[in-house]
């Protein structure tokens, strides 16, 4: 019985934290986030070399073959200082290929993802912003022994930096899980274009991916046409878990910043952290972070083990996090007073991150409804 991390994982945590403290303090994060693709290619290379980018990819394809629990450690640390990078997108794309791809496809795509030389993301959502099979309406037209895609995928993370897109679409019309397919589409191919949008959280870039007559054949389709829903559903769960793990870190980072401010800032003759009106909200935040942290750890473990309660565990974690994070961000800014509201001061970055996290892979309402359904309520 051990609901904690292994010694190896704790060492990894220490290394990541040291690396990011050194290379990505918040002033540096702001600079990196303003780069073309919103992150530092140089740090990406160095992290790839350290094995952190391909953490969950099998050793056979150049990865470290760790579980999601180990990814949680990495992402918690990345979240703490709002480190911008396509780590989550890369992991999700790799997971999709690992789950649904043929040996040949794994051989073709995974090594580049493991060594960070190529960047990948997943293109799941459409304008309906739904997480059920009904949300996938992009319908492929049959074309000889292949299919042709014409349409748009919305809110695609890290798309402007990505070389590969794992795209979800329908091979046959309908509304249920049948007929849903996945394909790996390369940037630069005919008909593939990316519209990058200005994002509220500068460390998290979003784009629209337009597919205008993109051909999919067996070589790039992951598995048989129409068979991909179980993989997509799994990717939704992994995505929700990784985003929550990263949010544990950012929540702790924001809480630490506000707590430090409350100790230093003096008003009416004493540090504002003495007043229960400041102290109690901070205590409540701590309770919430520790709680969705426990839920997120367990969700990662349950996914790694393919446990029966993995889906409900994921939804509990993401629901709790999505529910409380924006309030924590708002409180952080409010407790700072005027300074917290300026562009120059960092606490507002945590509010923006919290709001980015909320809808990602399903908001609180979506996941609570799922907990209710799975829990037999």
């Amino acid at each position: 019985m051990n609901f904690g991390f292994s010694e190896e994982q704790e060492i990894l945590r220490g290394e990541v934290r040291k690396f990011l403290d050194e290379h990505a303090p918040l002033e540096e994060v702001r600079r990196q986030a303003e780069a073309t693709d919103g992150f530092s290619r140089e740090l990406w290379s160095r992290m790839s070399a350290l094995g952190w980018v391909g953490l969950t990819i099998p050793e056979a394809y150049g990865g470290a073959e760790m579980g999601l629990v180990t990814s949680v450690v990495l992402l918690e640390e990345a979240g703490r200082g709002l480190f911008p990078s396509p780590l989550v997108s890369q992991t999700l794309a790799a997971q999709a290929i690992m789950r649904a791809g043929s040996d040949e496809q794994k051989q073709r795509f995974l090594p580049g993802l493991a060594d960070g030389s190529r960047i990948a993301t997943v293109a799941l959502l459409e304008e309906s912003d739904r997480f059920d099979p009904e949300g996938i309406a992009l319908l492929a037209a049959p074309d000889g022994d292949g299919e042709v895609l014409r349409g748009r995928k919305c809110c695609v993370s890290d798309a402007s930096a990505a070389d590969l897109f794992v795209v979800v679409y329908r091979s046959s019309a309908g509304v249920g899980p049948d007929g849903i397919s996945l394909a790996v589409i390369e940037k630069g191919g005919a008909g593939v274009s990316v519209d990058a949008h200005p994002s509220v959280d500068l460390t998290k870039r979003v784009s629209t991916l337009t597919l205008d007559g993109v051909r999919v054949d067996e070589g790039i389709r992951l598995g048989a046409a129409g068979s991909a829903w179980p993989t997509v559903s799994y990717i939704f769960d992994v995505g929700a878990t990784l985003v929550t793990a990263e949010a544990v870190g950012s929540a702790e980072g924001g809480l630490a910043m506000t707590t430090a401010f409350a100790k230093e800032r003096t008003q009416f003759g004493s540090p504002i952290g003495r007043f229960q009106g400041v102290k109690h909200p901070l205590a409540e935040m701590y309770v919430d972070v520790e709680s969705f942290k426990s839920l997120a750890y367990y969700a990662a473990w349950a996914l790694d083990q393919s446990a029966d309660d993995a889906a409900i565990a994921v939804s509990r974690a993401k629901a709790y996090a999505s529910e409380v994070l924006p309030g924590m961000g708002l409180q952080g800014v409010e407790l700072h007073g005027g300074i917290g509201y300026t562009w120059e001061y960092d606490i507002q970055l945590y509010l923006k991150r919290a709001r980015w996290v909320r809808p990602m892979f399903g908001d609180a309402d979506h996941h609570y409804q799922r907990v209710a359904a799975l829990g037999g309520l």
Partner: protein, 385 residues
Amino acid sequence: MDFELSPEEEAFRDEVRRFLDENLPPVEERKPEFEGEWQRKVRDKRWVGFSWPSDVGGGGGSIMEQVILKEEMSDRRAPSLGTCFMGLAWVGPSIIHYGNETQKQRFIPEILDGKYQWCTGYSEPGSGSDLASLQCKAVREGDEYVVNGQKIWTSLAPWAEWIILLVRTSSDGPAKHDGITCLLVPMKSPGVDVRPIKNMAGSAVFAEVFFDNVRVPAENRLGEEGQGWQVTVSALASERSSISEVQGLVRRYAELKELAQTTQKNGRPASAHGPLRARLVRVETRIEAMRLNGLRFLTKQLKGEKLGSETSINKLHRANLEIEMGEIALEICGNAASVASGEATPGGGKWQHFSLSWPEVVIGGGTPNIQRNIIAERILGLPKD
């Protein structure tokens, strides 16, 4: 109880409405030259500074007439009455109460005519909600004060020609308030330096203002030395009416309702979606409670009583509602809320901007914790911390 207007009030409302019918085109038809004409006309009606006494050039309007005028203007989305925003809101009332004749004659007409902008130099980096702890210092040298120090959260500073400034002229008094003096300072004075502050929404609506040996003629002192605190409090008191706040919230709620009704969530309008629907109607109910609270306060004023700390009730509501409406809107937008602007997000990003702008109201008007302290200490009589 009686929500009718008196015949005189009805007549005034009709006059306002007639004026608006004749002079106010719908928003989409207003041309660039309209604004100037409008300001001339409302100035001629004496509706700029409508609450100020007639003898200084104000409108001398009764409380009820002020309410009527504000409501009608707001209903029809008329431009502001006057363009010297801070002058009308803060500086004018202070000068009327505490200024000498020369100051009144010099400044009041120009404020009413909107000749230039004023800004207010009250807050400092170290003072926050504890305004009386301010440090910006003025030393008397002959006929001048020499000012050194810094102000922050000064709206409109880059465009202002004058600043109304609170400075510390003494640290000896028994209370922190006692050594504070109020000066009227030209922004062009040598040694004044303005640095805009960008807020988290990316706009620069505030500035820091630095004073480095700025020399201010003693005749520009408003009120007596050490009286600066009262001078400010009188202006703060004039800030209290909340009618137009409520109308702003009502309009915002109407936009939010439209967003909820026109955005699909899992195949149904977001407004039909249980939890969002519950939150929307909770907001609607609180806005109506604010409106009615405001009418109870107004009734008190009409009976000749002064308003006290009860105005904090609506300030707390407003703070909650500004924040909550932003959060509801973002939740409705879903993942598209991460997009800052453009066609890929409902409303083109206005909800994102709105949801990053609440601190102007929530922090600027006194933080919610300050409002809670005011209610607890001044109304409920609980001991100070």
